[in-house]
């Protein structure tokens, strides 16, 4: 792997390897001294054209626990917000000697452009681009699913074969959904997308997933996990696209509440990429229930991002699975 741009280009072997490495990283995090010397002297740049404190902190923590130097380059209050181009910013970072660029950008494909432009020699890690992809989120979701649902013990080497996962909410605007559909499919899980028709993209029929407009029907099929997507309230207004009539109607049809939670199988878990809109797509009962693994997802995020940074940056390791993912 030279870059991590999309889960769509990860092979089964590469995906399992990242999850296994994340497991090893997580084990080190249980120790008293969490810091590993692995990436000492390497520089990781967090290039955030879009605000996301939680994702930035997760990557920053991951890089620092591997002893990398971290530069945070945020669009807010910098020349980027004054219209400096992606290209000029990338050239600046290149001059600073970035070994890896973690990029969050509002434009779909910006990490792809950065990786293929020749503007930087560093590894490019997509930390969320527009409505396209957020591969480390999908990897941490898969990691979390594997830990809980594949039979206990050390899950190393396992995939998600046969698991049934429902992804519920604003699929149309969700990079989390796109990344998860591709990765979970690669790992052998069966994915069902659940949303009102307005929040599903034209073209979704080509995705390796089932589609349903009815959450209750999908819950009746006893899925192993439900992944709730964030829904922005402004999507209902006319200027926001008018995707649904009211938050109340959305919640009635697609919100995860106590009743729906109770209808799920005992072993099933609830995921959410955060930040949550409590009371809209998920009720407090559901968010705080023991089967919600939302807080654990955050911790797993650090381990997965450590694994990705490690696999992309630790020298000869990368040759073994050299693909332009």
């Amino acid at each position: 792997m030279k870059h991590l741009l999309s889960t769509g280009s990860l092979s089964h072997k590469q995906a399992v390897r990242i999850l296994d490495t994340a497991g090893q990283m997580a084990a080190t995090q249980a120790r008293e001294i969490k810091k590993l010397p692995t990436l000492r002297g390497r520089t990781v740049v967090n290039l955030f054209f879009e605000d996301s404190t939680r994702t930035r902190i997760s990557f920053e923590t991951a890089a620092k626990r591997l002893s990398a130097d971290v530069i945070n380059f945020s669009a807010k209050g910098s020349s980027v917000s004054k219209g400096e181009s992606l290209k000029d910013t990338a050239l600046t970072l290149q001059a600073m000697g970035a070994d890896a660029v973690v990029i969050r950008h509002h434009a779909s494909g910006a990490p792809h452009t950065l990786a293929h432009s020749g503007w930087t020699n560093g590894a490019v890690i997509n930390a969320g681009d527009g409505t396209h992809q957020h591969p480390t989120q999908a990897l941490l979701d898969a990691y979390t699913l594997r830990r809980h649902l594949t039979g206990g013990g050390d899950p190393s080497g396992r995939d998600l074969a046969g698991l049934r996962v429902a992804i519920v909410g604003d699929v149309l605007h969700s990079r989390v959904a796109r990344s998860n559909v591709q990765l979970l499919h690669t790992l052998g899980a069966d994915v069902t997308l659940v949303a009102p028709p307005t929040l599903l993209p034209v073209g979704v029929e080509a995705w390796p997933a089932e589609v349903s407009y009815h959450l209750d029907e999908v819950i009746d099929t006893k899925p192993d996990a439900i992944m709730m997507l964030r829904v922005q309230r402004e999507r209902m207004s006319s200027s926001g696209g008018g995707f649904f009539p009211s938050p109340l109607e959305y919640t009635r049809g697609y919100g995860l509440d106590a009743r729906r939670l109770a209808a799920m199988p005992d072993h099933a878990i609830v995921l959410h990429p955060g930040p949550m809109n409590r009371g809209l797509e998920i009720s407090a009962d559901a968010a705080d229930s023991p089967r919600a693994v939302i807080v654990e997802q955050v911790a797993n995020g650090v381990a997965v991002r450590m694994a990705v940074l490690y696999l992309l940056l630790s020298g000869n390791e990368s040759n073994e699975t050299k693909v332009d993912a």
Binding site: L86, H105, S108, G130, R175, R178, G203, A206
Partner: protein, 439 residues
């Protein structure tokens, strides 16, 4: 305006038919026949070459005035000549907009000074392309530029009342409204064709229906007020069906397709290379098949380039930030040959029709798109259909490098172009700039 120079085109095949020899003198076709000869003429060995009337582009963005960093009338018309064109229609979305007699006359006279091809300015339909009130269409029609084609291209005249008024008003001077069919509400923030590829790439979709809905409305408006309508760069299978239906009803509508929509698809967006970002967007293979079929059966009347040069800054960035458009003047004929002639769907006579005669007729340009016959203006192009060439935008005459065909091997090349008997292109290269401009 005699150049004093005569050309004897020996053994050329007019419209790809029987070989003959054609003498150009005093700006006209002076003689045609296997036994024609002239001791003073420059002799061109035309064996294997097809002779066509000079091409006429109904849809060219020359960018001057306002964006001379992307193209000028001089560089754009030189590119046109190299592509076999002797006349181009310059789109109105310049800065300032071509919405007054003053601006269209400026563009017209800059074209005359450059001398590479005749420039026929297109007038804006509405002031500043704002879609709010009609520009002074009559003044542009009566100006020295004699504007006959009006378009807000780049934007759609989406207000149905305004569109109706424009269609009616231009009847007074035999004008035509050329519509960029794009329903604005359905395409807010749109980045590429809405379908399987956009769903995966997470790029906001430009649905086919946003084009088709406007075309359907406009053909009905044109029928209602008895006006003629021209549809720019039609790109979808559904649009072809609507035009076919409208023509069957006797509605006075013409339609164009671009070379890129004849050959490229939305799959090219997968690399997020903004070279392939264009409006209307590249569609699916099914749409490509439909526009080829429409061009072959005459539903689509013409091919027009929508040559849209952009500076490197406007393309060297992330997809969403990039400008829409691709260059096309220097590759149009090759794409038509490759997709339509080499496949047996059009003859060279058909090519003359779709790239010269009909665009000239739609634009009411009287001295281009004429028959290859004695006494006619010597606006001609000589094509070598057997040639193959690899496209390198860095070597093109257009000032911009945003050709979607970089590195691609295409059929055919232009050997020579004649504008009123003067060579603007010879041996596949531009003639001397001063000679061209002085003539």
């Amino acid at each position: 305006m005699s150049t004093g120079r005569k050309y004897l085109l020996q053994n050329v095949a007019p419209y790809g038919g029987e070989r003959t020899t054609v003498l150009l003198a005093d700006g006209v076709i002076a003689a045609i026949g296997t036994d024609v000869t002239d001791d003073d003429a420059t002799i061109i060995d035309g064996r294997g070459l097809v002779l066509l009337p000079g091409l006429v582009d109904l849809h060219t963005h020359l960018r001057e005035p306002g964006r001379e960093d992307a193209e000028t009338i001089r560089t754009g018309t030189r590119a046109a000549a190299l592509g076999g064109f002797t006349a181009v229609h310059a789109m109105a979305n310049t800065t300032p907009t071509q919405d007054t007699a003053g601006v269209v006359e400026q563009v017209w006279s800059l074209g005359r000074e450059a001398g590479w091809a005749d420039v026929h300015p297109i007038g804006a339909v509405t002031v500043g392309l704002e879609g709010e009130r009609l520009a002074e269409l009559g003044a542009m029609a009566e100006s020295k530029a004699q504007v006959r084609v009006f378009s807000d291209d780049g934007k759609c005249v989406h207000d149905p009342v305004l569109m109706r008024r424009a269609l009616e008003y231009v009847k007074a001077f035999d004008g035509v409204v050329a519509q960029h069919a794009q329903e604005p509400r359905l395409t807010e923030g749109a980045q590429m064709h809405e379908g399987i590829v956009s769903a995966e790439l997470g790029l906001a979709g430009w649905p086919a229906v946003a084009e088709e809905a406007i075309i359907a409305r406009d053909v009905l408006l044109a029928e209602h007020v008895g006006s003629r309508l021209h549809v720019c760069h039609l790109s979808t299978a559904g649009s072809v069906e609507i035009i076919r239906w409208a023509k069957s009803r006797g509605i006075d509508v013409t339609a164009e397709v671009t070379p890129h929509h004849l050959i490229l698809t939305d799959e090219l967006a997968r690399g997020y290379d903004p070279t392939f970002k264009v409006n209307p967007p590249l569609r699916t293979q099914r749409d490509v098949e439909a526009v080829r079929a429409g061009l072959a059966d005459g539903t689509i009347d013409i091919v027009a380039t929508d040559h849209a040069p952009h500076t490197r800054e406007d393309k060297d960035c992330e997809w969403a930030a990039a400008a829409f458009g691709m260059t096309g003047l220097e590759t149009a004929l090759s794409v038509v040959q490759e997709t339509m002639v080499d496949t047996g769907r059009l003859t060279w006579a058909d090519v003359a029709r779709v790239l010269s005669e009909t665009p000239a007729r739609i634009g009411r340009v009287s001295d281009h798109g004429r028959p290859i016959a004695v006494g006619e203006p010597a606006n001609l192009v000589l094509v070598d259909p057997a040639a193959r060439r690899v496209i390198n935008p860095d070597e093109q005459a257009t000032k911009s490098g945003n050709s979607p065909f970089r590195g691609r091997d295409l059929s055919g090349c232009v050997v020579a172009t004649f504008l009123r008997g003067r060579a603007t292109v010879m041996g596949g290269a531009s003639c001397d700039e001063d000679v061209v401009a002085r003539a």
